[in-house]
Structures are given as structure tokens and as C-alpha cells.
Symmetry: C2
């Protein structure tokens, strides 16, 4: 995005360019429907909700975590979708090349930032994707719990539209247990009740 007015530094120019690019995440549609409303959710508002979940549900993490770090992780975890699109977790074909598409997106989008911030944001995203640390496990649990709630309160709408069976929903969301086993108990009941 071009800046016809002069900016005081190249650093600020890059930061603003990144923040303007981020605006596009509000136009990336997910498969989930809003609980109160007829439309599908976008990845920008989802990122906000997932960060809010983190703030409120942190006490259920299986292990001790740096909550502020998980919140930052949630804020940037979906930015790659601006180029790579949202890949439905039940879409096997889409998930086959997801890593390659998202890696290219990370290169371009985080690359808009000054180098030090590019590296920080990239590291947060890599950590989220790798699902190895306690923070990443909890972040991934938050990312998956909300769609389960959305489905439960819309009679499993997005699952039914994509022929997701109870068995597959249980298998795909089992990762919630790695971050927060008590919340996985809840998610399980919700999946079973939505897709009986």
C-alpha cells in the first residue's frame, strides 16, 4: 500500500505497511457460523475471540504458561491466511499443502515488518504451528474450542454442511486435551451432543 505522505522513518513505514496488510484478515472467511447471526466468521474477529478465550480460560492449562505470550500468539496465528486462505481442519486435500502455502505467506507478510519484529512475529507463529511448548499446546486448544462452541450453538451447522461425522470431529479436536484436558471433557460432550 502506497504512502503518498512522507513518514518520519523507514521503520514506521514498514510497521504501518504491515498493519494495513493485516486489515485483509477481516475478509478471510472461516467455515464457522457466528452464534448470534447468520453469517460466517472471519479470521480477524476469530483471532480476537481466541485471544479473549485465552485470557479468561488460562487457568485450565495443563501446564503453567506465560499467558501474555499465548495472547500474542493468538493475535498473529492466522495472519498467513491473508495469502494462504483458511484451511478447514477436515479438508484433507487442503491440509496436504497447507504448510507450504503458509510458509510462503509468512515470508511475505511478516517480511513487511522491520527485521527484528519480523523475527519475533515469525517465531510466535512457528511456535504455535509446531505445537510443542506448553504455550503452543494451550493456544491450539483455544483455537479449536471456539469452533466447537460455535457448532454446538448452531446445531452443528458447519459440520453438517461439510459432512463431518462425530468420529472425525472427536479425532480432529482431541488435541484440545494436550493443552487443557478439562476443557477437552467439555468439548467432547459438546461434539457428541451436536452430532448424534
Amino acid at each position: 500500500m502506497d504512502f503518498p505522505i512522507p513518514l518520519p522513518s523507514d521503520r514506521l513505514r514498514r510497521q504501518i505497511a504491515f498493519l494495513l496488510e493485516a486489515d485483509k484478515l477481516k475478509g478471510v472467511l472461516r467455515r464457522s457460523y457466528l452464534i448470534h447471526g447468520e453469517r460466517r466468521e472471519n479470521s480477524g474477529e476469530h483471532s480476537w475471540h481466541a485471544a479473549l478465550l485465552t485470557m479468561i480460560l488460562a487457568e485450565y492449562s495443563n501446564r503453567s504458561i506465560d499467558v501474555s505470550k499465548v495472547i500474542r500468539m493468538m493475535l498473529v496465528h492466522d495472519l498467513v491466511e491473508i495469502d494462504a486462505g483458511d484451511t478447514f481442519i477436515y479438508d484433507e486435500a487442503g491440509n496436504a499443502d497447507k504448510a507450504v502455502r503458509e510458509r510462503a505467506a509468512a515470508e511475505r507478510i511478516f517480511g513487511l515488518l522491520p527485521d527484528d519484529q519480523r523475527d519475533q512475529v515469525r517465531q510466535l507463529w512457528e511456535e504455535f504451528e509446531s505445537q510443542r511448548t506448553a504455550e503452543a499446546k494451550f493456544a491450539n486448544a483455544m483455537d479449536r474450542l471456539m469452533p466447537v462452541l460455535h457448532n454446538y450453538f448452531t446445531d452443528g451447522r458447519s459440520w453438517r454442511e461439510h459432512n463431518v461425522t462425530q468420529e472425525r470431529a472427536l479425532a480432529k479436536n482431541r488435541k484440545i486435551a494436550d493443552g487443557a484436558s478439562e476443557l477437552w471433557d467439555l468439548a467432547q460432550s459438546l461434539i457428541v451432543a451436536s452430532l448424534r
Copy 2:
């Protein structure tokens, strides 16, 4: 929102009730238009973007701040709009009773949470509103900078639709200087360029 399935604790029931209620913020429309797209922005995705701005632009704060606290502030700063609606900063009539409407909303919405979390979230919101601490001043600067950018890149669209003059836009956004004077220099140039 009713929970037909049993929950393991009243605490979790209240936390989930709050998080489901929060979903409604995605349906509260602001006056700003998205940069990439024809529609108006909602307060959920705005909260995400403002939190991301905080993360990236924290170094411009006039005073030293607890960045993680400002990020949490941004995540909850607009929740009262679920009941009170978004009040356009240039709407003098709407701003006259804004405090009363928002206070009632805070009571109800934060009151869904367990008492300890209700108090924490309420405190973050009160601090944001009072604009006294360094964190609150920077948070308010972030909240105002993004609409200026949105207007700049849509040819001042929402300002023109509501007959906001350059003089009023400058007066209403001057608070950015209290949190981040360098970013106020930028905002000023953008306002002047959008509304000449």
C-alpha cells in the same frame, strides 16, 4: 445462553456464558469502513486490530508501559458496546449519555464472569475509560489511530458521510498525542490530507 449439558463447575459455566456473550461484539458495527472491502468494520475485528497495533507500535509510547496489560485492555475495551452500541466520537448527543449506558452494560456483561474475573476485566475497562495511566493513554491512542488510517485509505469516507470537518477530526484525535506524540504527527498529516 442456556447450557443443556452439565458443566463440571459453576465457575466454568460463568466463563463460557461470558465468552458466548462476547460473540455478539462481532455484530456491532462501527462507522469506519475496511480498507480492503466495501463493508463497515465490526467492533470484534476492530478489537483484534487495535491489540495488534499495540503489539507492533508499543515503542512509540511517550512513557514506559506494560505492553501486555495494554493488549488485554484492547481485548475488552469495547465489550460494553454489546448493550450500549458503538458511539461515534463525533456524535455529541450520543456521547452525552454514553457513560451511563456503558456503565450499565459493564455491570451486566462483566457480571457474567466469576467475581474475581469480573473485577479484573472491569478494572481494565475503567482504566481505559479514565485515560489517566500511561497504559490507558497509549491504549486510547491505538484505538484512535486505526480509524484515521481507515479514513485516509478510503478518501475520508466515514468522515465525509458524517460531515466531519478537518478541524473537528483534528480536535477529536488530538488525544493520540497524550499516548504517542510521534504517531500524532503522523495522524495529523493523514487527517489534513484526507479532509482538505
